[in-house]
Amino acid sequence: MSYLIKATDLQAFTKEGKALSPRVNIEVSPGEVLFLTGDNGAGKSTLLKSLLGLHRPIKGKVELGVANREVQYLPQLGTLQFHIPLALQDLLPANCLSPLLKNLDLRKLWNTASGGERQKVLLASLLSKQPKLLILDEPFNHVDKESAMQLEASLQDYLKEHPQSAMIMVSHRALVHSWKQVRFMDIAYNKELEG
């Protein structure tokens, strides 16, 4: 078994049985980056959640080739205001060292942090767990250009340092096209595109 995750005929539905995504086949092996594309509302985020068991009901089969704890997920960054006053440093594991945290005031509360600050901390936290499989949903949304470049560089560095790790990502940001190991898949056609 060489895959990290494999989805066969995966399709997400509402509880009433309405299809929320097209049917797709996905297989990701160590070292690969799969880039899911599709129109707005095509069901990319729902598919990611279905892969992780966060969305039900689904049809098809999802098989993990790694332990569940070796998978990490970064959902779309919303405008969450959290009831408990957590500072950015509260969201990080102890002794978390990451270039993403450079020049950040980690005492700042989550509720007052910018989109870029929030996303850098969340991504630094995920990467510190050294996952085998990273699943990222629009990681560059709601962040400024400079932050987006830092986030992208840190992802690239992570994959260089951990060549056995893989990534599935939904993003509208064009810069990731420059990554060499990226495969692109348009979920509407259930097939991979030329890079």
Binding site: P75, L80, F82, H83, I84, P85, L86, D90
Partner: protein, 272 residues
Amino acid sequence: MENFFDLLTIYKWSLPSSVIMAMALAFIGSQWTAREKSAQIFVLGQGSSLGVVLGLIINIVAGTDFHWLNLVAGFALGAITLGLSDALIERKPGRNHIYLSLFVFFLALTYLLSALTPSLETHLASAYFGDLAVMSDFGAQVCLITALAFVIIAIKYGRKLSLLSFQIVNQSLIHRTWKLKVFDLATLLLTTMAVQNMGYLFTMGCLFIATSFASQQSKSLNSYTVRLALVASLGSLIGFSVSLLSTRFPTVPCVLIGQIAVGIALSLYRKK
């Protein structure tokens, strides 16, 4: 004053028990509020309350006096309420109106049961509004030990619990751990024990008053925890003590008003 201290010796178990239970409930309420599930816990409390009433009815019909039966019935109905609401309601959009409908349904059932069992009426008032002064020593001791254990754990693992709540509300929790189940069970147990021994009003008030004040004023997790504990404990202590000054002051409203007063005082102190 001598009379007041005499009263304190009478309530040597119920006073610390209600103060520590108020802290434990405040910690529970803060996490459920953070998970945006306060309406769910509100209904869970009413479900437990109905279970406690069912336990009372079984005791009356059977001519027994098994206090544990009320606890078991309250725990069981609370667990069913939590399980059903998680499975059927939690993912529905705009779910608060469903929770409120369920709350009204449980309330109607409780009223129906009390109307069908006339000897239950006095018990019902105590189960609903509670009276900390009439708590049995044994009940107070069990509540004190359980709540104290929970408070120690909640303080020690407060950050981890808050992180789990953050992941739940951020929809990024993909690794469900046994810790979540333990927290749910602790919530059920403590809520049911509090409803049974201290009443529904006390339980609901302690779940939400302290966190409402603490979350607005705190600049860090530590200061939030201190404020939460302070509003719940000091407010309960002052409220309980005030209620002892006159036989016309019921304990539970005084405790809850005490918590609100401490919350307001802390807000004013911060503004200065």
